[in-house]
Each structure stands twice: as structure tokens, then as C-alpha cells.
């Protein structure tokens, strides 16, 4: 007999806890396209298991809804069934005693409303409108559709040059992407179901590091067609590369002094060393791309006009990126000492390092660019760098490791601080940033609002303010030239063609707004294919790399090899590469974790490997 006991988990409970984490990972990598009705039925079954069983609506009502959804799935339901599901769920929402019932009912109502077409298709046509489109998750999630299982298998065999050749079939920036890609390929990696996603970017780095210089493939016979490409960033250079391979002559017009676009002028060299970026650019240029540096497209000096390009070239690809800055819209934003992220990173890109020695810097923003500015400012000798962000740190859009890296290097996190004004001295120089302390509030559309905390504004003393709240696109000239602009971006079709401007194509950040490098690269690839067709050809891009057969051995649960960085102390005063690649041995182990979804599962069926495009 004891008055209190210490809780201890039974073996069954421990097992169940393990299943929860397993299911969490499984849900993370759930492929898109699953029938929402089927999924709702599955979730509902779990929710039913969770009910404590005390209250009628939750105990019995959820069971009855489950029965009705099963009827819908089996083709036994009708519109009346859908009405009954909705009414029953509404009553459970209104009358259940606790969140277990209320929130389950809300889930049912949400799916019923949000996926109405799917439910109706089941009852009206006796047909499921859904189908899974993602047979190889990593490939499907890579905007450029790179053959990831293929090159991972090649890395496992140490065939690095073949891996690079295979990657280049879809992406001519293997090195840049090995270092800075946001790797959407890893987000739904099926290996996550076992333990953790494959470190795909890390393996790509192993490939490019191990491959040495890999020459570009031979170009098709010259077609005599000429294509002008406006902007030498990832999108423009990708289009140039594939168009050259197809036999067309491209000319890249680059406004700045160097090629690379945001890869050079947005991404600091401690993440992507210039000479490594140059490896990709050199290979692209080796196909015969003509380059006109310091030549923008517009109406000013050292500029060529759109009219000229459209008359002199058979097609034009606009890939000007997003290189204009956005303002916060607070007083004194034009004061001396206020820099935009574009200014700061652009100067660094041209090798003009600002000297922040002894200066206090406030960086406004919570995205990856803000983190790049923060960490670059630290490397430029700043005494103190503060990240000023109006929401919570967890709400930042920057990658977690970027935020963490900045903090390790000594940045100060001032989250829930909304900038309200810039304070200047009598000469007009920045002396501080007024902020208002915020408090987190209600959630709308799955995002928490910030509300006033009621505190007095607070002055953050500083000498430099860097505004990193987003980039805009220099559309004015193009708009005047009749190129359609919508909400600040160039309007192009999903196949990159610009309507009412035959022969004009556009892609990359200037169409999507600031997005990732790989999306810009993909746009360049899409543009190349469609420009080729526009020019009356149907060149096929392929590569003759034989992909290794998958191992038929059992998979052992195995940890993911993460890349390491030089210590904060060692890296924070220089722009040298921070990241350390995996060893060959680690790369081999990591590659062997790949489940080869190109061979197993539906990857060998519809939507599997595309050997050519």
C-alpha cells in the first residue's frame, strides 16, 4: 500500500511511444496525391483510438462518421451521406467535452470542406479523383528532376565523374548545388520512414569533390539559331548550357562584372567559395556560350535594348533575377549607414569588402538572406551584430542551421522586435534602430500574429542597419517594352513562354520572386527545352551513364552522416568555406543507406526514371 507511486513506462507503453515517433516520421514523408478521403478515414481511426470513451459524441459519433466515410470509399455513399457526415461532425464539435472529440470533428469538417471535390467524386462518379504522382520522392521534389538515386548509387561505387555527368543532364550547377542547395529532395526521402533522410546534398558534395574536372558533353551540330539570354545567374546560365548542347548559339548579357547572379552576389563565399562556383561556370562556358559582361538590357549607357535583341536573335530568355531591394517602410531608411542586403552582398560579390571594424550592425529580417548578411557582417569585423525580427525566432523562414550558425558566431537575437524608426545624428548618420517589443498572439491561417506588448519603444544603438526583408525585380524597363508584369514579377507560363511576345521566354527569380537556386536552374532547363521547340527542333538531352544495380541486401537502421562545420571561433573572422565534406568512407556508408526508390516500389513503374528530356 502506497500513498503515491512513481510513474514508470510499461514495455507496451515504451513500444507505443516508439511507434508514435515512427509514425511522425512517416507522416513527414507522406507522398502527395494520396486520396484525402482514405487519409481522413485513417486519421479518424487513430483519433477514435485516442478517445477516452467517456462522452457520447466522441465515443459513438466518431465511429459513425468512420462508418460513413468507409461507405463513401466503398462506393456506397451518396450526397446524403456527405450531409450526414457534416452534420454529425458539427454536433460532435459543438457538444464533445474535450479537445479529443472537438478537434477530431474539426479535422473531419476541414477535410470535408477543403477536399470537397474528392468526396463528391467518390459519391457521384464512384471514382477516386486522386492518384499518387510521386514515384521517386527525391526526384519528384527536385525542381530540376535530377536523377538522385542514380548519382547516389554512383557515389557509393566511387564513380564520382559519372555522378557529375549524370547530375549535369538536369542541372549544370552540380558544385554550387552541392554547397548551397536547400535540398528539397531530402524533404520526402523515403529513408525517413526507417531512420532519417539520406544526406543527398552531402553526397553531391562528395561527388563534385571526388570527380575533378569533368568536361561538358559535346554539342549537337550547330543549328545557326541564336538566343539572347538576359542575366547570367543560375537560370540564364542553365538555359545557355542546354541550348549550347542542342547546337544553338547563346549570348549572355550580364549587367554586373561577373557571372553567377545570386550565387555570387547573394550567397557569401564562406558557403560557396568563388573558385568553386567558377568550376560550374567554366564548364558551362566551355560549351561555347558568348558572354557580354557589364552589359545590361535597358535604355541607358552600356545597355542593349530589348528591341535590338528581339530583332537580332531568334529567341530571348529573360532571367534577370531579383536584385532590387525592398524597404521596411520606416522613417530614415535612406540615412547614411543604412544598407540593403542587395548592396551589402553585391559589394562583397564584387570583392569590395566593407570594413565594419568596431561597428555595431543591426540586421532587419528573418530569412536566409538576413542570416547571410549577419554572418557576413561578423566576418567584416563588426563589433556586434543584432538580428532584429518582428516575430519569434521559431517563425523565421531562414533554415534552422543558418540561424544557429549566426548565433554561434556571436550574433544577438532580438526576436519579437519590430523596427519602427531609424535614429540618426545631426549629420544624418545612423546611430540606432528604434524597435517595439511584440508579443505573440492568436493564430490565423496557421501562423501566429504578433501584437503589441505594451512596452515603450526601445533604441538599439548601432552604426549600420542592414535591411534584409526581401528583394524585388527590376521590371520597369520590361514593362515599358510590353512584357506583361503581374504583382511585381514578369508573367510567364509554366513552360516559361511570355504571352503575346513570340520568342520571348522568362524564368527564375524574375518570374517566381526570390526563390531557391535549384528552382532557377530548373526554369533554365525548362526554357531551353521550350526554346528548342520554338526554334523548330526537338533535341534530346541524355547521358550514357549506366546506373549501378541496387544492392539486394537487407537495410540496417543506420544514422545519417551530417556534414560538420569549422568551429565558430575558427570561421567567424574569414570568408573561407565553413563546411567540411564527408570522408570517402562516410560517403560510401551514407550512399548505401539509399533505398533505391528508382528500383523498388513504384519507381520502376509510371513516373519513374526519365533517361532523357
Amino acid at each position: 500500500m502506497s500513498r503515491l507511486t512513481i510513474m514508470s513506462a510499461s514495455q507496451a507503453q515504451t513500444t507505443v511511444e516508439g511507434l508514435y515517433t515512427d509514425m511522425e516520421r512517416r507522416i513527414q514523408v507522406s507522398p502527395p496525391g494520396i486520396c484525402p478521403v482514405d487519409l481522413a478515414a485513417a486519421f479518424l481511426k487513430m483519433c477514435r483510438a485516442q478517445t477516452c470513451g467517456k462522452c457520447v459524441p466522441c465515443r459513438i459519433g466518431l465511429k459513425q462518421i468512420d462508418n460513413m466515410i468507409e461507405d463513401v470509399l466503398a462506393g456506397r455513399g451518396d450526397m446524403e451521406t456527405l450531409r450526414k457526415i457534416k452534420n454529425t461532425a458539427a454536433t460532435i464539435e459543438n457538444s464533445a467535452d474535450c479537445a479529443l472529440g472537438v478537434e477530431t470533428a474539426r479535422m473531419v469538417l476541414r477535410v470535408l470542406e477543403g477536399c470537397r471535390e474528392d468526396f463528391e467524386s467518390h459519391v457521384k462518379n464512384r471514382r477516386c479523383a486522386a492518384y499518387v504522382t510521386q514515384s521517386i520522392p527525391c526526384v519528384a521534389n527536385c525542381p530540376a528532376g535530377v536523377d538522385i538515386p542514380g548519382y547516389v548509387a554512383l557515389v557509393e561505387q566511387g564513380r564520382y565523374a559519372d555522378a557529375v555527368r549524370l547530375i549535369r543532364k538536369d542541372n549544370p550547377f552540380p558544385t554550387a548545388c552541392a554547397m548551397i542547395c536547400e535540398h528539397p529532395c531530402e524533404s520526402r526521402c523515403r529513408r525517413t520512414i526507417l531512420d532519417a533522410p539520406i544526406n543527398i546534398r552531402g553526397l553531391k558534395l562528395a561527388a563534385v569533390n571526388g570527380a575533378g574536372t569533368v568536361p561538358a558533353p559535346a554539342c549537337a551540330p550547330a543549328t545557326g539559331k541564336r538566343v539572347a539570354i538576359i542575366g547570367g545567374g543560375p537560370s540564364g546560365l542553365s538555359a545557355a548550357y542546354y541550348l549550347q548542347l542542342m547546337g544553338h548559339q547563346t549570348t549572355v548579357f550580364e549587367k554586373r562584372k561577373h557571372l553567377g547572379g545570386m550565387l555570387r552576389y547573394g550567397i557569401p563565399s564562406y558557403r560557396l567559395p568563388r573558385e568553386r562556383l567558377q568550376e560550374d561556370i567554366d564548364c558551362i562556358l566551355s560549351t561555347g556560350v558568348e558572354v557580354k559582361l557589364g552589359t545590361g538590357v535597358g535604355s541607358g549607357e552600356n545597355m542593349v535594348s530589348m528591341e535590338h535583341l528581339r530583332s537580332e536573335y531568334d529567341a530571348v530568355f529573360i532571367s534577370i533575377g531579383a536584385h532590387d531591394d525592398k524597404k521596411v517602410g520606416i522613417p530614415n531608411e535612406d540615412a547614411e549607414g543604412v544598407l540593403s542586403a542587395v548592396d551589402l552582398m553585391g559589394a562583397i560579390g564584387d570583392g569590395l569588402m566593407p570594413d565594419f571594424t568596431g561597428k555595431r550592425v543591426a540586421v532587419i529580417g528573418g530569412g536566409n538572406v538576413a542570416m547571410d548578411c549577419t554572418r557576413s557582417a561578423i566576418r567584416c569585423g563588426a563589433e556586434k551584430v543584432s538580428i532584429v525580427y518582428r516575430r519569434r525566432a521559431v517563425d523565421m523562414t531562414a533554415q534552422v542551421e543558418e540561424v544557429q550558425g549566426a548565433l554561434e558566431e556571436g550574433a544577438e537575437m532580438l526576436d519579437l522586435h519590430a523596427p519602427v524608426a531609424i535614429e540618426t545624428d545631426e549629420s544624418g548618420k545612423v546611430v540606432g534602430l528604434w524597435t517595439e517589443k511584440k508579443q505573440i498572439g492568436l493564430i490565423h491561417n496557421r501562423r501566429a500574429d504578433v501584437i503589441s506588448s505594451g512596452a515603450e519603444p526601445e533604441l538599439i544603438p548601432c552604426d549600420i542597419v542592414v535591411v534584409a526583408v526581401g528583394q524585388a525585380i527590376a521590371t520597369r524597363y520590361f514593362e515599358a517594352e510590353g512584357i506583361p508584369i503581374k504583382r511585381g514579377v514578369i508573367e510567364a507560363k509554366d513552360w516559361t513562354a511570355v504571352e503575346h511576345a513570340p520568342g520571348v521566354f522568362a524564368g527564375g527569380d524574375c518570374v517566381t520572386g526570390p526563390k531557391t537556386a535549384i528552382r532557377a536552374i530548373a526554369a533554365g532547363k525548362v526554357a531551353a527545352a521550350n526554346i528548342d521547340n520554338f526554334l523548330g527542333f526537338n533535341h534530346v538531352i541524355s547521358v550514357d551513364v549506366e546506373i549501378p544495380e541496387p544492392s539486394l541486401r537487407d537495410h540496417k537502421y543506420c544514422g545519417r552522416v551530417n556534414l560538420t562545420e569549422r568551429s565558430a571561433a575558427e570561421r567567424k573572422d574569414n570568408f573561407d568555406l565553413m563546411e567540411q565534406p564527408m570522408t570517402e568512407r562516410a560517403a560510401q556508408q551514407e550512399a548505401s543507406r539509399c533505398l533505391r526508390c528508382d528500383h523498388f516500389g513504384c519507381g520502376n513503374f509510371k513516373g519513374g526514371r526519365a533517361k532523357a528530356w
Binding site: C35, D38, R127, A130, N533, E549, H599, C602, N604, F605
Partner: protein, 592 residues
Amino acid sequence: MVNVTINGIPVSVPEGSTILDATRAAGCPVPTLCFLKDINEIAACRVCVVELEGADHLITACNNICAEGMVIRTNSTKVREARRTNIELILSQHRLNCPACNREKSCQLKKVANSINMDDHMNFLHEYQPDNWDQTFPLIRNESKCIRCMRCISFCDKVQSLSVWDVVGTGSHTTVGVSGGRDIKDADCALCGQCITHCPVNALRARDDTKAIFGLDGALNDPDKVVVVQVAPAVRAAWGESFDLGPEVATEKRLATALRRIGFDYVFDTNFSADLTIMEEGTEFLHRMQDGKEHKWPMFTSCCPGWVRFLKSQYPDMVGELSTAKSPQAMFGAVTKTYFARKIGVDPNKIVCVSVMPCVAKKAELAIPNLSDAGAGRDVDFSITTREMCRMISADQIDVSALPETDFDSPLGTGTGAAVIFGATGGVMEAALRTCVYILTGENPDPDHTFTDVRGLDGWKEATYEVAGVKVRTAVTSGLGNTRKLIRALRRGEVHYDFVEVMACPGGCVGGGGQPIHYNEERAGQRGQVLYDYDAGNVMRFSHENPDVQALYADFLGEPCGELSHHLLHTDHHGWQMPPALRYDDDVIPVR
């Protein structure tokens, strides 16, 4: 060579061989269901699983490659259990009315299930999905029978390039359906029937029209009706397979006897109207070549209804390039209900015209609204497949091998060697060329050695012949994927032809969707050889030598491509609607 051990038996197999190849080489083959070499290697049914020494997880034999030193077991307890359980799982969702199922003899599921010592105890709840299909459409899909092997999807995608079938539903509700959420009648299905002949069970079948012929309300049971049957060339090459008889026993003459025993009043041969087709189409071709008018080239053959459906749905702008000649089936119907009706003095409305075809699309062709030119209802009333005909013979308990040989009836039963090769890819082209040479030069070419380049199973053959100073660039293709390649090349200006023969089914009609079914065996080659043997054995090798065709012209039609021919034997391919393609090629492939 790669050395592996199967059940303790060492075997050497060529590099790149699958484990399935090795199990066969070792004499212990594992069964397969979903596997279709090069086309559907998706390892879905898990019936071919084997045990690899050193691995706990079983692997499939069909799509994994032998590596040096592999030690494989196909008969371990784990393999036996998995094979049996997976087959039981498939059976649990398959409507088991085996005795009443007409794939009873050719059902691969039944064969595999029978082979593995199943007892009659089912371990799983038997729950199959209900059928929900328009039973009047020539192609019928039985959901209750489908084992979701996905072979139909892959075949239609990869071989026929039409992608009529697709995966529908997700999770455990995943099944097969018409792509794009369409109804089959709204789909651009060519009705080639290749999905049927590649279905391992009876999930896909042709509509059964036999009851309309010999059922209670059937034509044969109506004393007022004169029931005429025509037999297509390719049928005679394959019908014996249904009775495990070779072509030396299952001859065309025994076939004529069998059909007569069933009760048909006249047993005729589509070879007759194949010869007639050559007279019309060959003449039409020479007119196009020589009339000095502008024509779009090439001229395409029009005898394959699957091909016509394909062209109308995929490249509607090219329909004018089809020969206006009707197919032999349709010509036969038109002649039967006019010339033949008059000859025997019977009201054509009392004639029921039945065709036996290696084909599913012929069922749709006869229903085309403007193919009723004889003025007595449809020119052809019913078209049954080779398989349906064999089922009728079987239903009448006819012992084929004991039948005497008899000739086809006269006059529409006379055919030449040129006609019988219509059933093989290249045959129509060869027959036409034989007669064109005669028309242009007045001399017959050597039928055995002149046009051999258009023979054989290559999917895309080309040959240029010079006939009396006229250069004729020909191409022959079979299979709709090959056809699409050829048409794309034509549209891009990469190739130029004058005359192109197209057959929707790989290998031509001998490989047709209405022919007997053999799991994972393509018999077009050997059946085609049977037809070439018939050709070689016929004293008449040229369509223009068919005396009954000549009599038809002399007594009734006048001349080839004359006014009456034009009315009865030619058609307007624009005169009926075909559902459009989901997406046209020109949206994605540039035309230069």
C-alpha cells in the same frame, strides 16, 4: 558469364541476366504474373520472390540482375510461404467463377495457383470489387477480375503509346481505370485489344457477340435468315491454338467444315474481299500517283480499324491521307448484301453477315454509321473474334482433328495468296505491290523474291521499288507506338513515303487483339509464317488473278474505282466521330 547457384545447382548465365533467367536455366523456374519482359518489370505481384543467401528480405526474380556468386533458393519455406500467401491475397480480391470464365484455359493466375499445392481452404476474406462497365462497348473491363498487375497500363503506354489505361485511386483502393477520369467510350482507345491479350486473367475481354449468332434469339435460330460468315486471313493461322492443334491439322479447310457444322448457311473467306481491296486500293494509289493532281502524301492503308481510330484521334489533320478503300470486312459486307443477295435471289434484309476477325476494333468498325451502303441495315451485322469462334466450336463439342476438310463456298470464298498475307505485317503492301507491278507492266513479278523487304516483324520497315520507271517509296509499320514514331518523322519532314501500311497490332493481324491468348508469348511471327506458307501453296498469287473478283467486276461493279465501287467499296473517313486525344503531339513536338 555470371555464375550463380539456384537451389544448389550451379549455373552460368550471360551478364545482365535476371534471377528469373537463372532459375529457368537451372531448371527450377519461378512462376510470374505481372512480369512482361521489357514492358512491365514492376515486381508488383511478388509471386516470383526468391531467397538470396545473406539477406533476410525476399527479392523478386523478375527484375533483379544476377551478380557473381549469388546463392538463391526458390524452394525454401520462406519462399513457399510468401508465394502461397501472395497468391491467396490476389485470389481474395478476384472473382472466382473459374468454370464459367472463358479464360479458364489461358488464365495465368489459375495456372500459378494450381501449381503451388493450394488446398481449398481460403485464409482470407473473399472480397472483390463490383463490375461497373458499359457491357455494350467492344472492350470490357471487369473490375471484379482485375489483379492490378498493371500490364495493360504498361502495354498501352509503352507499346501502343496511347495511355488509355492509368492507375486510379490510392492506397489499398488502387486499381486500374481509364486515364484522365474518362469513360471508355469517350477515350481515344484504338480498340487494338492488346490489353486483352496481355491481361493474365479475364479482367479485360472483348464483348461476347456469340449469343446473337447461335443463342436462342440468335440469327442461326431464325429460319428466315440466311447467315453468311467470312473468315479473316489471320484467323486460320491461330484458331488451332485454342484446341492445342498445329496449323497442319487446324487448316482453313477444317475451319470451313467446323463453321458449316455450327450451321452457317454460307462459309466465305475474307480473302475474297482482301483481293478486292487490292484492286480498289492499288488502283486508287496508282490514280493518285498518275492523275497529276495535288495529293497529300503518303497514302495510308485503311484496312486496320484500330489504326484508323488512332489516326482520327491522334492526328485528325491527316485523315485525308488514308486510302478511301473500305476494309476487307466492310467490302465483304457491302458485296454480300448486294451482288451476292441478287445472285442467290434473297432479300438482302434477310441476310445476316457475320465476320470472324482476329480483332476487337472490327466490332466497332461495323457500327460506323456510314458503313451501311448496301441499304439493308449494317453491311456487316456481327463481328466475332477468333476466340469467340473457337468458343462456339468448342460449345458445339466439335472434335476439330476429326473433321474432314472442305472448301469455302463460292463465289465469295475464293482468295489468292496475295490476300492471305494481309494478316501479317507487310502483307497488304506486298499484295498491293504485286498487283501494281502487273497493272503498270502487264507482267507478274516473282511473288516469292521481289518484295521480301516488307516482310518480317520489324516495327518500322521501309523499301523503295522502281516499277516501270515509277519510284515507289514504301514503309510498313505495326504497333501504334511504332506508328507514332513514323508519323512524327513524317510530320517533321525527316522521312518521305508514297505508300504506308499501318497495322495497330504488333506483327499485324496475326498478333491481333482477338486472337488466342498465351501468357507472355508473342506468336505473331510463327502465325505469320503459316500465312506465308498458305501464300506459297496457293496456285493464285496475285489479287488480279482472283477469277471470282474478276467476275464481280464483269457482272456487277464495272471497273475498280468506278462509280459503283466508289459507292459500295469506298468510304468517307470524316463521316464519323472519334473521341479526341487527351493531348495532341503537336503541343509537345514541333513540326518543321
